[in-house]
């Protein structure tokens, strides 16, 4: 024990924080054989997954030329905050101009802003911000609760397993990621609407009250979920203050 001090300890903490499995030294960066003029997200952004676990879908990006056609052989590099792992973090676009990387987010819940970069002809970097969402216990619970009780009205997308009721409502509710609506509502407002129904905040009676159906913890969990998925991101009031 006594031989372990300062740096070794710091190293260990970095390893522990980064999710424990030591990363193998990355293979040397592949050499780009082409360059494009635009980098766009094809799929896999704004995914929600449990903190520390791999996300369900890969992140797929595409490099295009001036005409908007995919470019083969362009180098795309991924970076992110501490704790985020990319598999792989650097690779060349395939014949359709796409790259695909598997993601593991850090161990703390919240929004992770990742960056994908490719270089254009002039050698300038073209960075693209890609948000991904890590759910902790509470957000995960909130996700489950809203999927059972709320999403059929609040999510306009229908699946065969869950037919949406959104368009049947004369006053359409907002989908939970609409930050423009939800960020204006405080936690107390949301608790009131969910607990006592729409009329509690002068909204439509079509929004039913859940105060006697859900527990307090479940309502808080749904709010935590709404805060996590908000786009634009939600800023807790305390933080705005901290920045001033």
């Amino acid at each position: 024990m006594k031989s372990l001090h300062g740096t070794a300890g710091m190293l260990a903490v970095v390893v522990a924080v980064c999710g424990c499995s030591r990363q193998h030294k990355a293979a040397p960066a592949p050499q780009a054989t082409a360059v494009g003029s635009a980098l766009v997200v094809s799929s896999g952004d704004k995914q929600l997954g449990p903190a520390g676990a791999p996300l369900g879908q890969p992140l797929v990006m595409q490099v295009n030329d001036d005409q908007g056609n995919g470019v083969t052989g362009a180098l795309v590099m991924f970076t992110g905050p501490a704790g985020v792992k990319f598999d792989p973090s650097e690779l060349l676009t395939d014949s359709s101009g796409q790259v695909s990387t598997n993601l593991t987010l850090g161990n703390t819940s919240g929004r992770y802003q990742l960056t994908a970069v490719t270089n254009n002809k002039a050698g300038h970097a073209l960075p693209v911000q890609v948000p991904e969402l890590a759910a902790g216990y509470q957000e995960e619970l909130g996700y489950q609760v809203q999927r059972t009780y709320c999403s059929r009205c609040h999510n306009p997308e229908s699946t065969p397993e869950q037919v949406s009721n959104h368009d049947n409502l004369s006053v359409p509710p907002h989908s939970f990621d609409q930050g423009d609506t939800y960020n204006k509502l405080s936690d107390a407002d949301l608790t009131a609407i969910i607990g006592h129904g729409g009329p509690a905040m002068n909204l439509s009676v079509l929004m039913p009250p859940y105060g006697k159906t859900l527990t307090k913890a479940e309502i808080q969990a749904v709010i935590a979920y709404i805060r996590l998925v908000s786009d634009p991101p939600y800023q807790a009031p305390g933080l705005v203050y901290a920045k001033q």
């Binding site: 300062g6 260990a12 390893v15 819940s109 216990y137």
Partner: protein
């Protein structure tokens, strides 16, 4: 050789002055005395405590945070739980609600969880060495090999040490446990739980005692070689058999199959007479086969349920005679099957078997050519069946079920790293070991028999999580903390109706008195809930209550007498003892009350957002349509449901509106007027 001399000189020089030895020894003493406080001062945890103070210094919440801060070692000591955790010595922000923006360890806030840290400590969930006061000794797998920190992605495993019932907040753990049961893992690997119970399988591997009646040796061969080549959703794993091994096992299984009474080899299969070619497909649809069976659609997606086997290429598998007999009465072939006895007419049987026979995969058997087996091959086939533990899942004549075919896994989540054998390139941790074992079991060495499954990475994670929940600690924690899984009761309906319900396998989908499936509504209190006439009509023609559902109640062609038996039984026996279903009348409510109910329905309670009363106007699509609810439900049931839906059906998503008796009465009156035809009193 001048060096010793030099040393001696300097030595003498030191002591030339008699005061010096004294001075030097005092200095030495001081240094020795200072070592302890210095060690303390430079100790790692002080470093983190200083770092924390620096971090909070300029924050607007600094004053509060500083007031909460106490220097020194912090400890949570819970003798009952065997917890001595000093983690909070460095993890100083865990309970500081205002530190939500800090992601830097060790100072970030703990995410919100349902337990208090003061009651549970840290290591019960996170593992690691709670009493350690250095980072490495607390976390690292090389320094705390018995219990290194559990990577966050498997956190739900820790909930599973006490919570054996599925929790809403642990989807990964729940999924893992489901896979353990559904993919038959627990048939080879015993998993005993601390309360003395054991994980039970939920799959239904068919008996192979008379398999020759059902299928051919060629199909068995192709299936053994790769179950997924026949059905993408197959739950049987791939045993990675050589061609010769598959040849010999298939030969043995066919040779070992003995016809039983009811077998069909000689049955004559009639084809449907004057049938529209689409009639078979419509009958498949009308019978709601897809509620339990999946088929691949043109786009290659599986559509349908997973209670029964996939039917995409069933025509390549089963013999036509067998299929017809199976559809006529599945229990003749397999007394334990969940497949209902549909009571199809001969014409329907011909239509349906014709339709299913046409679902083939011509590639599957194209290259399978098997010669008659030699006695050696048969003997070898039997030997392989024993070696691979086939009888752990399937009933096979002459091969007894092996006990503990695979290693028991009851405490695998605490297996010390020192006892694990790793393959090269793999992280040397228990979670990595478990997930590799699940993903590629045969890579751990030659001669291993564990078969290859095709799990997605998410499924591997879920399984690993479920296995990691099986810890020593789950046995040593106080028994009062354990929350047992909901065990199915042994309830079976009695008498003639019971016989019928077993024949129809009602409980494959419906739960009654704690026994049965969860695909369809619980019927325990059905007799209190519905009107007898409605029930009889529904069994005759189960038009679905919820158009949005894919899974629906099939029609069974019951005779009048069978229907009467079932209806009488359910109306009499499946009653909630606290409900008098005749306490409120079905008809005769005052128009003013009905009108008041309508106003409440469309106004105060906005029921139309989920339900339809007037299909021409209402659109609500979440709950069942209510346009004929007055002919379906008893008034008293509606009233009590409105007052507290969760009390009548725990877990229903109908919100409890905290309704007054007056409102509930008026709404009941309005709903009882909704009798379907004509829509008397429905919304305008």
């Amino acid at each position: 050789m001048r060096t010793p001399n030099k040393l001696w000189n300097s030595w003498r020089g030191l002591f030339r002055d008699p005061i010096r030895p004294f001075g030097i020894s005092s200095a030495l003493l001081l240094i020795v005395l200072a070592i302890a406080p210095a060690k303390n001062h430079f100790s790692e945890w002080r470093h983190y405590q200083r770092g924390y103070l620096k971090l909070i210094r300029n924050r607007p919440d600094a004053l509060v945070l500083q007031r909460h801060f106490e220097p020194g070692i912090h400890q949570i000591w819970l003798p009952d739980l065997g917890v001595v955790d000093r983690c909070e010595t460095c993890h100083l922000g865990l309970t500081e609600t205002s530190l939500g923006d800090i992601r830097m360890q060790p100072w970030s806030r703990h995410p919100v969880i349902p337990h208090s840290m003061q009651q549970f400590g840290c290591v019960i969930c996170h593992r690691g060495q709670g009493a350690a006061t250095t980072v490495a000794a607390a976390h690292d797998s090389t320094l705390s090999p018995d219990e290194p920190i559990l990577p966050a992605r498997y956190d739900e495993a820790s909930c599973g040490q006490c919570h054996h019932v599925a929790l809403e907040g642990t989807p990964t753990l729940n999924q893992g446990r489901e896979i353990l049961a559904r993919y038959g893992c627990v048939r080879c690997h015993a998993i005993k739980l601390p309360d003395g119970s054991a994980e039970q399988p939920t799959d239904e591997p068919p008996p192979l005692t008379h398999i020759a009646d059902k299928t051919t040796r060629e199909w068995i061969y192709a299936w053994l070689k790769d179950p997924k080549s026949y059905a993408a959703s197959a739950t049987m794993p791939n045993f990675l058999l050589s061609d010769d091994d598959a040849r010999d096992i298939s030969a043995f299984l066919i040779a070992n199959s003995v016809a039983e009474s009811g077998d069909t080899a000689t049955l004559k299969v009639a084809s449907a007479t004057n049938a529209d070619p689409a009639a078979g497909a419509s009958l498949y649809g009308e019978s709601f086969c897809a509620s339990c069976h999946a088929t691949q659609n043109a786009a290659g997606n599986l559509v349908g349920g997973d209670l029964g086997p996939e039917l995409t290429a069933v025509g390549t598998k089963v013999k036509p005679e067998w299929l017809t007999a199976w559809l006529r009465d599945p229990k003749t072939y397999d007394g334990a099957t969940s497949m209902p006895h549909y009571r199809f007419t001969d014409q329907q049987l011909a239509l349906l078997s014709g339709f299913l026979e046409s679902k083939t995969n011509s590639d599957l058997l194209a290259n399978v050519h098997l010669d008659a087996a030699t006695p050696e091959q048969l003997a070898h086939g039997k030997q392989l069946v024993e070696e691979y533990g086939c009888a752990a899942c399937h009933e096979i004549r002459g091969v007894s079920r092996p006990d503990n075919y695979g290693p028991e896994l009851s405490r695998v989540g605490s297996k010390p790293v020192a006892q694990l054998v790793f393959t090269t390139g793999m992280a040397e941790t228990l979670p990595a070991y478990l997930s590799n074992k699940i993903e590629r079991p045969r890579s751990f060495g030659p001669g291993l028999h564990m078969p290859q499954y095709t799990f997605t990475p998410a499924q591997v994670d879920a399984l690993t999580t479920a296995l990691l929940s099986l810890t020593d600690r789950s046995y040593t924690l106080p028994a009062k903390m354990r929350i047992a899984a909901v065990q199915q009761t042994a309830y079976e309906p009695a008498g003639r109706a019971g016989h019928l319900m077993t024949d129809l396998n009602c409980m494959a989908c419906h739960r009654i008195n704690g026994h049965g499936g969860d695909m369809a509504p619980d019927l325990t209190w059905e007799g209190s809930s519905v009107q007898k006439q409605w029930l009889d009509a529904f069994l005759k023609n189960p038009n679905t209550l919820r158009p949005a559902l894919i899974r629906r109640m099939p029609r069974f062609n019951l005779t009048d007498e069978e229907r009467a038996t079932l209806t009488d039984y359910m109306m009499t026996v499946y009653q909630n003892p606290t409900i008098d279903r005749d306490a409120m009348p079905l008809r005769g409510y005052l128009p003013a009350m009905v009108e008041h109910g309508r106003e409440l329905f469309y106004g105060k309670y906005a029921c139309q957002s989920c339900h339809m009363v007037d299909p021409a106007q209402d659109k609500g699509y979440i709950g069942p349509p209510l346009s004929a609810v007055g002919s379906r439900l008893n008034a008293e049931w509606i009233f009590l449901w409105l007052k507290n839906p969760q009390q009548l059906r725990p877990g229903t998503i109908e919100p409890d509106r905290d309704m007054s008796d007056d409102d509930a009465h008026a709404l009941t009156a309005f709903l009882m007027m909704q009798t379907g035809s004509g829509n008397k009193g429905a919304g305008k």
